[in-house]
Symmetry: C2
Subunit: 668 residues, 2 copies
Amino acid sequence: MTGEHSRKLPGEGRRRVVVEAVRPELEGGRFPVKRVVGEPLAVRADVFGDGHDRVGGVLRYRKAGREGWEEEALTPLGNDRWEARFVPEEVGRYEYGVVAWADRFATWQEDVRKKAAAGQEVAVDLRMGAALVAAAASRARGTPDGKRLEDLSRELEGASDPAIAAALALGEELTRLATRWPDRSLATEYGRTLPLVVDPPLAGFSSWYEFFPRSCGEGPHGTLRDAERLLPEVARMGFDVVYLPPFHPIGESCRKGRNNSPRAEPGDPGSPWAVGSRRGGHRAVHPELGTLGDYEGFVAAAGKLGMQVALDLAFQCSPDHPYVSKHPAWFRWRPDGTLQHAENPPKKYEDIVPLDFETPEWGPLWEELLGVVLFWVERGVTVFRVDNPHTKPFAFWEWLIREVKGEHPEVVFLSEAFTRPTVMQRLAKVGFTQSYTYFTWRNTKAELTEYLTELTRTELREHFRPNFWPNTPDILPEYLQYGGRTAFAARLVLAATLSSNYGIYGPAFELCVAEAVPGKEEYLDSEKYEVKRWERDRPGSLAPLVGRVNRIRRENPALHSTWNLRFHEADNDNVLFYGKTSEDGSNALLIAVNLDPFQSQTCNVRVPLAELGIAPGRPYLMHDLLGEDRFLWQGEWNRLELDPRVLPARIFRVHSRLRREEDFDYFL
Amino acid sequence: MTGEHSRKLPGEGRRRVVVEAVRPELEGGRFPVKRVVGEPLAVRADVFGDGHDRVGGVLRYRKAGREGWEEEALTPLGNDRWEARFVPEEVGRYEYGVVAWADRFATWQEDVRKKAAAGQEVAVDLRMGAALVAAAASRARGTPDGKRLEDLSRELEGASDPAIAAALALGEELTRLATRWPDRSLATEYGRTLPLVVDPPLAGFSSWYEFFPRSCGEGPHGTLRDAERLLPEVARMGFDVVYLPPFHPIGESCRKGRNNSPRAEPGDPGSPWAVGSRRGGHRAVHPELGTLGDYEGFVAAAGKLGMQVALDLAFQCSPDHPYVSKHPAWFRWRPDGTLQHAENPPKKYEDIVPLDFETPEWGPLWEELLGVVLFWVERGVTVFRVDNPHTKPFAFWEWLIREVKGEHPEVVFLSEAFTRPTVMQRLAKVGFTQSYTYFTWRNTKAELTEYLTELTRTELREHFRPNFWPNTPDILPEYLQYGGRTAFAARLVLAATLSSNYGIYGPAFELCVAEAVPGKEEYLDSEKYEVKRWERDRPGSLAPLVGRVNRIRRENPALHSTWNLRFHEADNDNVLFYGKTSEDGSNALLIAVNLDPFQSQTCNVRVPLAELGIAPGRPYLMHDLLGEDRFLWQGEWNRLELDPRVLPARIFRVHSRLRREEDFDYFL
């Protein structure tokens, strides 16, 4: 060796095992992946060493901030891929990583096994093994394992009959004890500790109902108290989240009139999203709706019915918002001295002025907005539907959500962004608990299959939790405009069974309101700009169907997850056929939806017998929970008719085992 | 805002643009990607902001260790994906990253354009623009651009005719100048600086010829001087890398006899991979082969013929290696006091003892092995074929290769690992320049298509450079055993045209030696254990074909890359049809290989007319460079016959434009 080539060596060059390709991992650990309480996190990694040495390893994890690690042993999946899983039991942040090592004991055992099988001499090998076992004994010193390993080492060392010694070397007891005390002195830790956010169960399974409290009254303007009286009806429909549009004072300057007219007529109530007037801003209640006390009463009443109230976080202002005079630096001012209103040229939103997140005073602005969220959290709100989050900086959301969830890990944030995929996904990465999706515009079998496959079978599922909405106050999709009541029913079943989180904007939804601004996907006479009088008991209301669907959701654990979705074959492009099975396999559903709102469709569907554990020759019961029909099917392919005049969908619970003679009491 | 919620804010919360999904990126920048000198690196990233602001950005890069950055502007690919590229001109390490920002000027221009088109008032907007342009002018102060931007700002500010002002605002000059001086004060830097290793051209395009010098003589044992006399013949065959198995002293203890017999007979030369005897170790030359001076002469003679010499780096020892007595701690000793020889139970390799990389003295061991490499680098060796690198720690290779290439960036390391995918890929990640592959066992159309697609169309291509070997001294594949001379010819063409790096073990290859140990893929009477006398001039030698193939490789830039491979349709599963086109499009090849060594195959092949720029109705010339035949084809589908009794392959150069009357001198 030439002296001039004396280089810097690593601190320890003997860590021979590699840990790589750890999944899930979001941008190298920059962002957390997501689970809900009780939902397992399965972690996989490529683990291997040089040469033919056996390797061992663990997944380690802990609640963030705690000392020490919990560990689960990795098990091999083949091809150097390993897996371990754990079930987080608390809300909040966790961290996890992978540690692995060369397992000299297992390597030695394998060598002895092969040599013995080939009739080769193993006496010296057994002495080497005795040394390995003695080392394990010293690691286990002070425990019963240590004592026993010492004995086993001596037995190996002293065994005179090679056959007996070999049997001892490969025996179950030695394997178990030595595996429990591996030599981890040269273990490799995966280079990054990865974050996980664990959310409350509601984050993974929720049914949302959005409505305008001002349309709930008998007089010209409903109140929060009127809305409260409606809560039992919402609960009867089976929802668990009640979501109200902003209930703050509405601006008067540039207030929009009916149908988004640039000029309000006297008496026009304005858009609730034009937040703030001289009566207050984001911490105040619109006087015509009631008081802060009324709102607290509303939240409490919903809670008694098992429902949470979602607050609409619309971080924008009407020109009358108190912020404008108190914090002029938080807004953009034009050279002519006027306030820059919201616009997306050539469209203008004169009733709204955006906050300027590029202001040098961004710090106080962020603090104030965090203060708004915490103000409502302190008043019992744990669910926030965030309006247009994609028009505020990602860094702001990342900070705000982390601050809130640091103290209140149970809080849920739903991202209302209908924009480009990169942006919607980034919002999910920076911390939003749930996200609006493109479901609203996915109608055909090909569209739904492709989109749901992307949502559920790619890495997106690790951080992007879909919440499916067939309609919103902003969007009346063409499919609903043209498809009539059947279209609403089909979209309801799709939203509620494809995704474990879904919501509707009512009563427009259950009353099948379908009149749009011509050529657009906007409601004609939109509730955003006027008080409505809904005829809730109108014949033909889908409220009973909504109630039935939500009851089915609640009673069937298979529908409590989005990730267990599997598409199955149906030989008709108008019929979507798919299934969900609960984690423990006890609850299996097969769902068929006729996507054609106009005509009856028949088709053959292929039942995944093996997955469902159905023996090929045996009949099985298909119990349609929606129509309460029962069918006996057998074999893979079965015939189905879905008539939109009756019901465009069936939600079958599969009973794979029918009773037979041997189940009859007197059979034996 | 409640005082108790005053939290830590980020240092700067106004960096609104996101840079993510930068590719290529290997394990978050942990390992470098690879290019050769002159090969462009195209970098892509998702770049976007909140809201509807336009964004701008650059790819920045530099030679590692240099100050400052070179920059290339990102251009949009759609869907928030952006790209820029640069061409590295020097060997060595580079680093690169992405920087992006909200482009307020472009956003403003777009708004003005839309408002003007909608007939809206833009006077105040123009004044806002004037301020943006004035800011750009101040960034450009002291340059001619600065002066001109100042003028333009004043013109915008003062323009009285709105139409003229709008034209000025959207004009080419202002756009160009303002784009050159963007506001980068709130720019976002991608979180990681990513490494790139740039290798010499040989790393990307090389033809290797392996042979045993001891089989080159007239007497019982050839020498390096005998081998030197053979070099002109190797050069005539068109190779540029000459690779010799280890030429160090061969151990005598436990030396292997012919056909891997555990006992050598007197006169048996032993395996060259049993390195080291009392005559020296990895820095010495086997006395029967010659002297260190002879080796230096061999390297120099090869250099004069335009060939580099690859040294076989076999980091293992015979029991007689000087290391054993000098550094006993570098080996494993069994409890009975014997040296642990190499084994993969039940297989034993008694002539070899492995180095123990878990020795506490691993530091001096690493230093010594680095010293060995540098010893040979100092003697003119720049190419190393590394024997069984997967039996030494990855960390060791990462350190060694980085140390060597830090001072000698032109050095090439070829990884001879035929093992599991994770291991082979990790070796490429830690620094190996080229890698042996599974090509040796990929014979059918489906196998070749799938494997080459994986190698060339996935992220593997960023770090794993294949080197295709149809045979090696260790492997005589069944396809060659049974397929006869035609099989050798087909595999030669496949290796040499699918991959830009390939090699053969000769003369066994060109003489079509096909006798194997029964039931195995090993050569019978293997040259590893005996001196051979090759009848190089034997009729039927493929040497002329090898020479022709290598000349075609050299003359056709399309074959200088592996990454430009595209498979095309052929309606016969025995025919593989594929193409390669040079970066500038001037050199286009289409290659057809009959994979059935026994029968003539005809088929229709589909020519990718559009990709080749051939007008549908026009004829084109297919010039078979292998058989020197010429065909006039037209249209997409054409018929082809490949008769193994003539040649199992055709390498067509496509001449897409044939001369017509307008090209004739007198036409005009």
